[in-house]
Amino acid sequence: MDQDLGLDPALVQRLERLALVARQRTAGAGAGPRRSLASGSSVEFADYRTYAEGDDFRRVDWNAFARMDRLFLRVFEAEENTTVTIFVDCSASMAGGTPPKGRLAKQVAACLAYVALANYDRIAIAGIGDRLGPYLPPRSGRARAPEVWQFITDLPQTGATQLDRLAAFRGFKPAPGLAIVISDMLTPSDWRASMRTLHGECRQQVSVLQVLSPDELRPSIDGDWTLVDAETGQETDVSINPGLLSRYHQALVAHTTEVASWCQQHGMAFAQLASDSAIDEVVFRLLVRLGVAA
């Protein structure tokens, strides 16, 4: 199993018992166990759509291909799979923390991707830093898991967190599906507008997973420091004392509450993860409890 992500075979085997939860009906691109807005193959024909890599070849309309010289997929109103897009924060801040926040973020992304693949869903991966990308187009089938994991492993961790770049996802003309954003959410950029775009224009069921390091949740430094932001280089002079630590905690709570409340108001799931959490604990307890997975 993948050594960089630290996923052991027992964990992967347990992941096969999970499925990602769609709180609303979605239109998938292939047959699957999920009730789709589109008709399934077992019922009656609903529509054609353009073939995408990873689609089931059995549903390609070869007659249409012969006439149009293009691949079209027959869509039925029936049980359908769905496209799960995982946005992984690739900014420099994810490389920080003890352990690094980016490691847990990639582990969670890899687990959720495997869950999707094991349940016949299509999985797409997108890095998000100071731009949207790199992007792995939708893949389906358990056999694509190594490719997906490798892509996740190779995601860089540089630049600033610009969550407003998520809005560029509309350019991919995505099918309705699930969108999972894994980020520390520590950015002054306008993440709300981009989330609204994902949710509305892109018709994604959005879940937000905020990953913070223990140092950010419970700072243990003391004294006079010039704090340098790893992403922007911005310096902040602080004299850390109990008073300032209290104000920091208030700021952390306020920020978390702000994000969580906003997500709740817009029908999005939100979870805060500590980077020192065990991956199986996160997947099988926290995410299940929050309804991201079942």
């Binding site: 920080g96 950010e216 420091w225 932001d229 004392n241 952390l252």
Partner: protein
């Protein structure tokens, strides 16, 4: 409350440094975090990039500033005056200047000072060390560190007030030096002074107890600055100044006497705190001493009389040894203040020079020089350590080292020397005039077998220059003679008490005496003295009046006079105690009170503040 060390307030500048620590941002270690987003939200106030920040009234800042204030206060060494016993080392400064003779309510200020000093000494424990300093024009230690009260009382009883102006700074320096020997903390200086004696500001750690006697409002008229000049017709012009140091307008008759005979009386009215200059003329042909005296009685009588010397007769004798020098003869004959005799070198003998104040050798050097001041012109041989050689041509003249002003008012550009004599410069001589090659005029004081004989040497023949034709030639000769043969043996005809008088004696002086106004006589030179001629310094000018100097030189007996007059500056009698108050840093204590230093308690308070600051700092962390 007062302080011993007010200058320590300069340490308050440390408070600015403390404030600066709060204004300026600290130089902090850097730490890179994944994101400072939350920290920036927590410390919004410190996000500005300016090197200073808004000052906030933090407890630490307030405590640190309080600590600075308390520590600076402790460094200033505050004290309070309390009744108690004085230290173990006491220095009594006894004012004996002129104004202590002021009599008020039947007692002079000096008598009151002495009585107070006796009382202080009598009230002291037996182990106390006492020093006594006399404060007048020349403060001096009368008694140093005595524990014997009998010695102290005897010393005090032997003092009388003088006529000098006080030199208070010198007396206080002397007292503080004595006091510091036993440790400043245990010392006390007690200044017993007239109200007219000013006290300058004094920075010292030794406490000074200032006891003032007299009233600034005491009525007093004083007379000084008498200048009298005789006219050819026998008239005397007298100009004098009358000073009113009291607080009300006063008037008085001024009697003018010539050699003790009353010649004129003026009536003078002087406004309070002011003075009047008055001039009068009267006939007193041949008088030598003019006396001006206030006839009215006031609180200070010592300044009611002054004197001036007129018709001082003193002609110096000059012997010129020359084969003939028309230029020199002409200019000497024009100077009427000298008795000039001329002799050919072939007829010269040392006996001829006896009694001469100055001997001029023109192009001749005798085998034995006379014990008199000398002017040597173009000496043809070695003399007085000067090694002479042949002639040399001279070029442009340059002014050299002329301490006696021989070339004063002489324009060198108008003088040209063609030939000069090659000569060395002895140790005693200054080169007053020179060209680029060598000396042209030497001056200095040499022994020549006696002490203090003045000598000038012109190292060229006057006829080898245009000097005798120059308009400044008489000036040069006058300068030379004024220095070599002054017309009076006394440098000042009028001095103040305590001043020195320099008396120049002829080389063959056998007897020189000075008779003081009280009739006492001091012998300066006698037959048994080593010194026969030269300059002597007379220092016993303590008593105002007329002093007579008698000099017997050879067969000649001469008498000259000088006078010692009290000096009173306008307003000096009422100088009062305000001087010490305005001093600020001087320590003022009333009788029976001693300063108690509070530094210890304040240092304890500083420690408490620092402990509180440390406690708060730990709590904030």
């Amino acid at each position: 409350m007062n302080v011993f060390a007010p200058s320590a307030i300069a340490f308050a500048a440390v408070g600015l440094a403390v404030l600066a620590q709060y204004f300026l941002k600290l130089r902090r270690p850097r730490k890179t975090l994944p994101s400072t987003y939350l920290w920036a939200r927590a410390v919004v106030d410190t996000r500005a990039n300016t090197p200073w920040q808004r000052l906030r009234a933090e407890p630490l800042l307030l405590l640190q500033l309080l600590a600075v204030v308390v520590i600076v206060f402790a460094l200033m060494r505050p004290y309070v005056l309390r009744a108690g016993t004085i230290g173990s080392n006491v220095v009594l400064v006894l004012d004996a200047s002129l104004t202590t003779q002021t009599v008020e309510k039947g007692h002079s200020r000096f008598d009151l000072e002495v009585a107070k000093a006796h009382a202080i000494v009598d009230g002291m424990p037996p182990d106390k060390s006492v020093s006594v300093i006399r404060l007048d024009g020349r403060p001096r230690v009368l008694l140093a560190g005595s524990t014997d009260k009998g010695d102290v009382d005897a010393t005090l009883a032997g003092q009388k007030p003088g006529f000098e102006q006080p030199d208070t700074p010198a007396a206080l320096n002397l007292a503080l030096a004595l006091a510091s020997q036993g440790g400043a903390a245990k010392a006390l200086v007690i200044l017993l002074r007239s109200a007219a004696t000013p006290v300058p500001p004094h920075n010292t750690s030794v406490p000074i107890q200032d006891i003032v006697f007299g009233s600034p409002a005491s009525p007093n008229l004083g007379i000084d600055s008498l200048v009298a000049q005789s006219q050819p017709n026998g008239a005397i012009n007298a100009l004098y100044r009358v000073i009113n140091n009291g607080s009300v307008k006063l008037d008085s008759d001024v009697e003018l006497r010539a050699d003790g005979k009353l010649e004129a009386v003026d009536h003078i009215a002087v406004p309070a705190g002011s003075y009047v200059l008055h001039s009068t003329t009267f006939l007193a042909k041949g008088a030598s001493v003019i006396e001006a005296r206030l006839s009215g009685a006031d609180s200070l009588t010592a300044d009611n009389t002054t004197w001036s010397v007129v018709n001082q007769q003193s002609h110096s004798k000059i012997l010129v040894v020359t084969a003939g020098n028309v230029f020199l003869s002409s200019v000497l004959s024009a100077l009427s203040d000298f008795d000039v005799a001329t002799v050919d070198p072939q007829h010269y003998s040392p006996a001829l020079a006896s009694g001469s104040d100055l001997v001029i050798f023109d192009q001749v050097v005798p085998r034995i020089l006379p014990p008199a001041d000398l002017l040597l012109i173009d000496p043809p041989g070695d003399v007085l350590g000067i090694h002479t050689g042949g002639d040399r041509t001279a070029d442009a003249l340059e002014l050299g080292d002329d301490p006696n002003g021989l070339l004063r008012f002489v324009t060198l550009a108008d003088i040209h020397v063609f030939m000069a004599r090659v000569a060395s410069v002895p140790d005693w001589a200054h080169v007053a005039l020179r060209d680029r090659t060598g000396p042209l005029l030497l001056e200095g004081t040499t022994s020549n077998g006696a002490t203090g004989l003045r000598c000038a040497v012109i190292l060229f023949d006057l006829r080898q220059s245009d000097l005798p034709l120059a308009r400044d030639f008489p000036i040069l000769i006058s300068n030379l003679l004024s220095w070599l043969a002054p017309d009076s043996s006394i440098d000042q005809a009028t001095v103040h008490p305590g001043d020195f008088v320099h008396i120049t004696l002829p080389a063959d002086t056998s007897v020189a005496t000075v008779r003081a106004p009280d009739g006492t006589q001091l012998t300066l030179v006698s037959a048994a003295s080593d010194q026969q001629g030269g300059q002597v310094t007379f220092t016993n000018t303590d008593t105002p009046g007329v002093y007579t100097v008698t000099v017997v030189a050879g067969a000649v007996r001469r008498q000259e006079l000088f006078v010692v007059t009290p000096q009173i500056a306008p307003g000096s009698l009422s100088a009062s105690a305000s001087a010490i108050q305005s001093g600020g840093s001087a320590i003022v204590a009333k009788t029976g009170q001693v300063p108690v230093e509070l530094t210890g308690g304040i240092a304890m308070a500083a420690l408490l503040v620092l402990a509180a600051e440390w406690f708060v700092a730990m709590r904030l962390r």
